[in-house]
Each structure stands twice: as structure tokens, then as C-alpha cells.
């Protein structure tokens, strides 16, 4: 299976959709219609860049900050919203909540809100690819915080020793809930640890979707070629709080401002405009499509009923 080069305009629209989805959710939450949630505002580039480099056979594991990964993969924002709102038509029937969506039909397996959970499961998904002679690889998204859980070492070590086809994607967004990364590790990133375990690594500007796409494509090529795991660390920033609502009172204002200036959506848009690849009309059309998509999604989720209590104890056992 071959992956087409990333169309930067499409990448922009995808990022805009992710942003709009999360802003919708924040708005719904503000109006008491959805639970609080973790957004990925500012981190749209790793989602779009990495997921665009995957094929349909590849599987994804992700964490509590997963909306971008799902949307980049083509998941329906209406069913996602429905899930977050606990509605019956959500991907998991409303049982999973705001942080947990998995969607088997898109190969988004096993979203874990236990930080580190995705790392613990990824090796097994990689192992099944190997043992069942599947061609797909596994993309495992996790945060810099997850990398301080011991499962990080255990997962990478096993993947290295067993040669499992896993693309580890660390979205190093500088924050671990209410703690800055600098308080939890001495190095600025985690590639050193991966390298010490024998895992090949690369670091990429996590606010540039095109750079991420290229780095991910190269990493995936290496995985398909060697069968071995690879760790890609995308340096980015969590522009909003940990969990909505969050006043970010603990955030260094200058640092936040610096990264706001590097907003991945504004950055790509400016670049495309500069390069004459994005007209005002095209932009307006994109905005309209995104707005329409989110309106439809909200209407869908609103219309979806809550599950009946009869499902309280279904799906416990197979």
C-alpha cells in the first residue's frame, strides 16, 4: 500500500476541523451540555502529520488527548461528540466518556486514559501484527508524561528485543497535567532513553504538519523495512489547560505567548498564503465546510438518545 504525499491544503483543513471540534466541545461544556475534556489545541500537527502517513491496515493506539488522531483518521465528529456526551450513537455507545473513544472500524484500538496504558498495550498489538502476518504497523501516541511512567521503558525494550513494528509517537507538549515537563525530567526530551534501549529515533518540530508527515513517513518506511520499532518525538505545546475548564494560572505567560505565536494552524495558513497556494475564497470555503461539519455533528449528537439503563451491565463479558 502506498501513501500519497500530504496535500498541505488538505492538512490545513483537517487541522481546522480538529480545532473546530474541540472548540465546539469546549462550548458545549461551557453550556453544561458535555462533560469536561482534554483538548489538543495547539497539537494538531502531530495528529494530522502522523496519521496521514499511515495506511488503512495500520492500527492506532492513543490516549486521553485523542480527538485529533481520530479525526485525522476520518472518524465522524458527530459520533465522537455523541460519545463524549454519553449518547447511544457514540462510537462506544456512550460508555467511554470524553477521553476514551476507540473506533475499531478505523483501526483506532484501545484508547487508554491510564497514562501509559497505550504503551503497555501497543506491544501486544505489534505482536499480533507479527504473529498473524499482517502487513500493518502500529502507531502509538503518548505524551511526555507517559514517558515518565516505567511502562515507557518496558514497552520500548520489549518492542526492541522482539522487533515489533511499532511507531511510538511522543507528543511532547511540555506539560503533564499541572506540572511542567522541566519538573519531571532532566533532558528536554525522551529520545535518549529510546536510543539507549536500541530503538531508532527522530525529533521533529511538532507544530509543522508537513515536517511531521515527512518524519513519520521516513520512520514508517524504516519500520516496514527493518521490522523494528521507531520513536518519533514531536516537540509541541498544549495551548489550553489540562482539562476543560482550566484557567492556566500555573502557566508561564511568556512561554505560552511564544508558543501561541507558533500556532500550527496559523503557521501553515500563513505559509500557504505566502506561497500563493491558498486564496481567500478557498479559505472561506474551508471555513464554511468545517463549520457545517461541526453543526451537523452537534445536531447529530444532540439528537442521539442516552443509552437505556438496560445496557448498564452489557459488554462486560464477551
Amino acid at each position: 500500500m502506498t501513501v500519497l504525499p500530504l496535500d498541505p491544503v488538505q492538512a490545513l483543513e483537517r487541522m481546522m476541523l480538529i480545532r473546530a471540534y474541540e472548540e465546539t466541545l469546549i462550548d458545549l461544556h461551557g453550556r453544561g451540555r458535555a462533560a469536561g475534556t482534554c483538548t489538543s489545541v495547539g497539537q494538531e500537527a502531530p495528529a494530522v502529520g502522523v496519521v496521514s502517513a499511515l495506511t488503512a491496515d495500520d492500527l492506532i493506539l492513543t490516549n486521553h488527548r485523542s480527538a485529533g488522531h481520530l479525526l485525522a483518521r476520518g472518524a465522524d465528529p458527530g459520533r465522537m461528540l455523541a460519545e463524549v456526551m454519553g449518547k447511544r450513537d457514540g462510537y462506544c455507545g456512550g460508555k467511554s466518556g470524553s477521553l476514551h473513544i476507540s473506533a475499531k472500524e478505523f483501526g483506532v484500538v484501545l484508547t487508554s486514559t491510564i497514562v501509559g496504558g497505550e504503551l503497555a498495550l501497543a506491544t501486544g498489538v505489534g505482536l499480533s501484527r507479527r504473529m498473524l502476518d499482517k502487513s500493518g504497523i502500529v502507531a502509538c501516541f503518548f505524551g511526555d508524561g507517559a514517558a515518565t511512567e516505567g511502562r515507557f521503558q518496558e514497552s520500548l525494550n520489549l518492542a526492541a528485543v522482539w522487533k515489533l513494528p511499532i511507531l511510538y509517537v511522543c507528543e511532547n507538549n511540555q506539560w503533564q497535567a499541572f506540572v511542567h515537563r522541566k519538573e519531571t525530567m532532566l533532558a528536554d526530551g525522551i529520545v535518549g532513553q529510546a536510543a539507549a534501549l536500541g530503538v531508532e529515533t527522530a525529533v521533529v518540530d511538532g507544530n509543522d504538519p508537513l515536517a511531521v508527515f515527512d518524519a513519520a513517513s521516513a520512520a514508517i518506511d524504516a519500520i516496514r523495512r527493518t521490522g523494528k520499532p521507531f520513536l518519533l518525538e514531536a516537540m509541541t505545546y498544549r495551548l489550553r489547560g489540562h482539562f476543560e475548564p482550566d484557567d492556566q494560572g500555573y502557566v508561564d505567560k511568556a512561554e505560552l505567548a511564544r508558543w501561541r505565536d507558533r500556532d500550527p494552524i496559523l503557521g501553515l495558513r500563513a505559509r500557504l498564503e505566502r506561497e500563493g497556494r491558498l486564496t481567500a475564497e478557498a479559505e472561506a470555503a474551508m471555513e464554511a465546510r468545517v463549520r457545517a461539519a461541526m453543526e451537523a455533528a452537534t445536531a447529530f449528537a444532540d439528537a442521539s438518545p442516552y443509552p437505556g439503563v438496560e445496557v448498564l451491565t452489557t459488554d462486560v463479558y464477551a
Binding site: 462533560a35 454519553g86 449518547k87 456512550g94 460508555k95 467511554s96 466518556g97 470524553s98 477521553l99 476514551h100 487508554s112 486514559t113 491510564i114 497514562v115 501509559g116 496504558g117 508524561g145 507517559a146 515518565t148 511512567e149 516505567g150 503533564q176 497535567a177 499541572f178 506540572v179 519538573e183 519531571t184 525530567m185 500555573y250 442516552y306 443509552p307 439503563v309 445496557v311 448498564l312 451491565t313 462486560v316
Partner: protein, 323 residues
């Protein structure tokens, strides 16, 4: 008396004990960020953020406790304790015994649990009975601000590892707390309401459920006694047995699931030691044997409700044959 929330009661207990004893300290993911008052008053050495790694947080607490400190660690949500089971159970709970009494482990583990936040089964799982089953630990799970404060103080002063579970739904509930609150001894239940017809045993948020049920029952002429366990280990067996000896009927209510839960223990205790007084089957009302759903109506349905308690009691009152 001051009125305060459960969250404030916990903070007050921490501050007071840290003032009294310089070996008391607190750490955990975001602790220094979120407990800024403590950081200001006691400084960065005694109030620390940690890396995101529950196992080493709990292990550090155990090692520190064994060698002269009194650490309090906040592990955030009860399911995250899964990453720290070895340190809590195999180390803190056992190494005193294994070492023939050479070391003790004066440490406190804090965690939130329970339905009410809609965030699903990996943040909401009531696992207190695991620790009741395990040797060497103490467990408290209060229901009022005063108890949170008093029991938290005792937990910090205790020379053993104590787990303090805070039912998330109670965090912002308020109550009267004595100004100079004394420590409340671990292992003593509170009788929240006296009654002679049936004993309702509960803890955490479902104490309120039982109180509501008792009101309804009272209107129907049924006089329910409500016991709030507060401490799950040591368990106040005397309070339970004394009550059942009088009422002859027992319903245990909790949100944790039924199988091998605290309700099973209370029921088994009574079936052994108060059998002669029992006039009706012992009932348990618990959360279902399922992970906690996130969807609001399902999450509500997960928790035992006052109606169901009323109904259970009524069914017991009808068991005339046995009386």
C-alpha cells in the same frame, strides 16, 4: 464550628499536621501546583510535584516512611493505584512483618474514587476492598468534612500505612467542622441515626443515600439505624454487631461492586457473630459487577439509590415468618 467542604477539610488537616510535625510532607503529580497554599507555607522541599509515575511515588513514600519521614502521597484517582500495588501491598503492607518489626511505615495514600464525574471506568473504580483484604494497611473512607479532617489527622499520625479514599461526589459537599478539630480515632464507626427496626451500614456517598432512605422509612413507621463505617480497616465490628443485635435486620449499602466487597465482609461478620439476632436475610445493595460507565444516566444508575434501599428494607420487614 466552621462550615467547610470536604476538599477544604483535607487541606486543613494537611496544613495542621504539617505545622505540628516537620517530618510530614506531601508529594504527587501536581500536588505543589494544586496545593499552592501548602507550598507557600511549607516550602518546596515539603510540598513537591513528581514525575507521572505512581509506582515510584508510592515506593518513595514507603522508603521515606521506613527511615524517618511521614509522607502523604496523592495518587489522584483510585484506579491509578493499580500502578502502585506492589509498593502499597508488597512493601508498605508487608515489610514491617517481613523484617520482624524492624521498620514501620507511617505514610498516607490519598485517592479519589466514585461516580459523579462522568469520566469513566479508568478514573472511577471503587477498589477499597482490595486493601481491606491485604494485611498491614488501614483504610478510611469518610462521608463528612469533619470526619475527613479528623481521620486524615489520625492517618498522618498513625505509624502504619493508611489509605484515605475520597468519594469524588463529596468533594464540594459542606459540613460543620469543629474549630480545633481533634484527630478522630481510626476504626470507630459513627451512628448517623439511631433506630430499632433495621440497621443500614454504609460509607462514603451512600451514607447520604441511607439517611434519605431512613427519612422515607420513618414516614412509613419504620425506624432505621444508619451506621457510617468511616474506617473500613480496622472495621468497627462492635458497632455493627451491637446495632444488629438490637434491630435484627441488616442492609449494607455501597457503591463498590458486590463480590468480595466490604458489604460481603459486613454481611459475613453478622452471619457469624450476630446470627441469633437476625430476623431476616442480610441484604446488600451495591454497584453492579461492571466497569463504571461514563454516560450520565448510566453513571447515576450505577450507584445504589434511596428508593432501592427503602424497597430492600420493606422486603425485610415483611419477612414475618422468621421473626
Amino acid at each position: 464550628m466552621t462550615t467547610m467542604t470536604v476538599n477544604d477539610a483535607i487541606s486543613a488537616a494537611l496544613a495542621e499536621e504539617m505545622r505540628l510535625d516537620p517530618t510530614v510532607m506531601i508529594f504527587g503529580e501536581g500536588v505543589a501546583t494544586k496545593r499552592h497554599d501548602l507550598l507557600e507555607e511549607f516550602g518546596a522541599a515539603r510540598v513537591r510535584n513528581t514525575p507521572l509515575a505512581e509506582g515510584i511515588i508510592a515506593g518513595t513514600a514507603a522508603g521515606a516512611a521506613a527511615t524517618g519521614l511521614r509522607p502523604v502521597v496523592d495518587l489522584l484517582f483510585a484506579p491509578f493505584l493499580c500502578y502502585a500495588m506492589d509498593e502499597i501491598v508488597n512493601s508498605a503492607g508487608k515489610l514491617r512483618y517481613i523484617s520482624g518489626g524492624q521498620f514501620s511505615f507511617p505514610m498516607v495514600v490519598l485517592a479519589m474514587t466514585g461516580a459523579g464525574w462522568g469520566v469513566g471506568a479508568q478514573h472511577n473504580h471503587n477498589v477499597e476492598s482490595w486493601f481491606v483484604h491485604s494485611p498491614g494497611l488501614k483504610i478510611v473512607m469518610p462521608s463528612t468534612p469533619a470526619d475527613f479532617k479528623g481521620l486524615m489527622k489520625s492517618a498522618i499520625r498513625d505509624d502504619n500505612p493508611v489509605l484515605v479514599f475520597a468519594d469524588i461526589a463529596l468533594g464540594y459537599s459542606t459540613g460543620e467542622v469543629p474549630e480545633e478539630a481533634d484527630a478522630i480515632p481510626l476504626g470507630k464507626a459513627a451512628v448517623r441515626r439511631e433506630g430499632r427496626d433495621v440497621t443500614l451500614v454504609s460509607y462514603a456517598k451512600t451514607v447520604g443515600t441511607c439517611m434519605a432512605a431512613a427519612e422515607t422509612l420513618a414516614a412509613a413507621g419504620i425506624d432505621a439505624e444508619v451506621i457510617d463505617l468511616r474506617s473500613l480497616k480496622p472495621l468497627d465490628e462492635t458497632a455493627i454487631l451491637r446495632s444488629v443485635a438490637r434491630t435484627g435486620r441488616l442492609v449494607v449499602v455501597h457503591e463498590a461492586s458486590r463480590l468480595c466487597g466490604v458489604g460481603a465482609e459486613v454481611a459475613a461478620l453478622v452471619a457469624e457473630k450476630a446470627f441469633a439476632s437476625l430476623r431476616a436475610p442480610v441484604l446488600r445493595l451495591t454497584g453492579p459487577d461492571a466497569p463504571a460507565p461514563a454516560s450520565f444516566p448510566l453513571e447515576q444508575a450505577f450507584v445504589p439509590q434511596a428508593d432501592a434501599v427503602v424497597e430492600a428494607v420493606r422486603s425485610l420487614m415483611d419477612e414475618r415468618a422468621i421473626a
